[in-house]
Subunit: 204 residues, 2 copies
């Protein structure tokens, strides 16, 4: 299998961390599609994904699968242990709830701060700096909320590390480029971050 | 079971349409949480969802589940037939890919146009009209792309109606309030919309 991806983008990193946690990293060849070099807009790549987004998984028979969470869910079904999506309906529902919170409340906001205010995108896309400011305020509130949640348990969705933790750490690490940081006022979030960082998958 | 929801918001409608498609509508009591009346910010509701978002599913034993897709996935697992999420790993992956496209490319963009430009939110939240304009341009491109995709098959994810179609139609119907419409230049999308509209679940 091949994963078309950009080493610096957050969504491909979700898949790379997932692969390490699953012990599948050696089964997938990484193919770099550099957004900086506009490789994601080249005709050859647009044939794989007309939306020009990374990542894309290419199976050995040539089938293509887009969207990081579709890729992770598919591989989690084929290789169930250890699962990153839960073992029974209620646990899976909790992990889905928290993965969506991590994506919609954190990763989405971080990505919009980056797209709408960072010099990297100036001249490449239209930017709305006002919206970046709105998302920064949103993130400050959400990090405070998450800190309270993590006072009560080890991982986002309970006592089991899951895809929700992967999404959240990829969001927060990606936020650094926009000066979004875990401050001293969120000690439980800092404890959780240190726990994630100690896992080999964090280097992915 | 109880579903706390706003009758006019798109995410609760995804769950309501899902319940009708599954034949489960009579198993769930709908409890209105009016965003217009700010009921989603009342302390009693924030106890159920500290983020103040709708919908929330309350089970008969009092357990709470947030996030529309966590709710639908949970109920789909408990009541597998007819599934809205697919019957084998590859089909499930395809449906997940398309549900995410419908959510991230359509529903997200429509929601941001509404939040950042509609008078409903003026004075309630900070708005960035420039970002609404960016999302309108994005939507025009994505509707043209989707039209091409739907030239080749019945439903978003193939020959089976799925949660991806529910997400897409909820996005497009919600876009009407912001004058986002399916035009004459996207006949395949219009054919698909007519097909969805002919299903009883569309009235949900």
């Amino acid at each position: 299998m091949r994963l078309y991806q950009d080493s610096r983008a957050p969504n491909p990193r979700r898949v790379r961390m997932f692969l390490v946690e699953k012990g599948l990293a050696d089964s997938v060849e990484l193919v770099e599609v550099s957004i900086n070099d506009r490789a994601h807009q080249e005709p050859a790549y647009l044939e794989k994904n007309p939306l020009g987004l990374v990542p894309v998984l290419e199976l050995d028979d040539g089938r293509l699968l887009r969207e990081s969470m579709a890729i992770c869910r598919y591989l989690d079904e084929l290789h169930p242990e250890p699962t990153m999506f839960g073992t029974d309906p209620w646990q899976r529902a909790q992990i889905e709830q928290w993965n969506r919170h991590a994506e919609l409340e954190l990763l989405f906001a971080v990505a919009q701060v980056f797209r709408n205010s960072h010099p990297f995108w100036a001249g490449r896309i239209k930017q709305a700096p006002e919206f970046a400011d709105i998302m920064r305020e949103h993130l400050a509130k959400r990090l405070a909320w998450l800190d309270g949640e993590l006072a009560e348990r080890s991982w986002l969705a309970g006592d089991r590390f899951s895809i929700a933790d992967i999404t959240a750490v990829c969001a927060l690490d990606f936020g650094k480029i926009s000066q979004i940081r875990i401050g001293d006022d969120t000690p439980h979030l800092a404890r959780w971050y240190a726990d994630v960082k100690s896992r080999p998958s964090h280097k992915a």
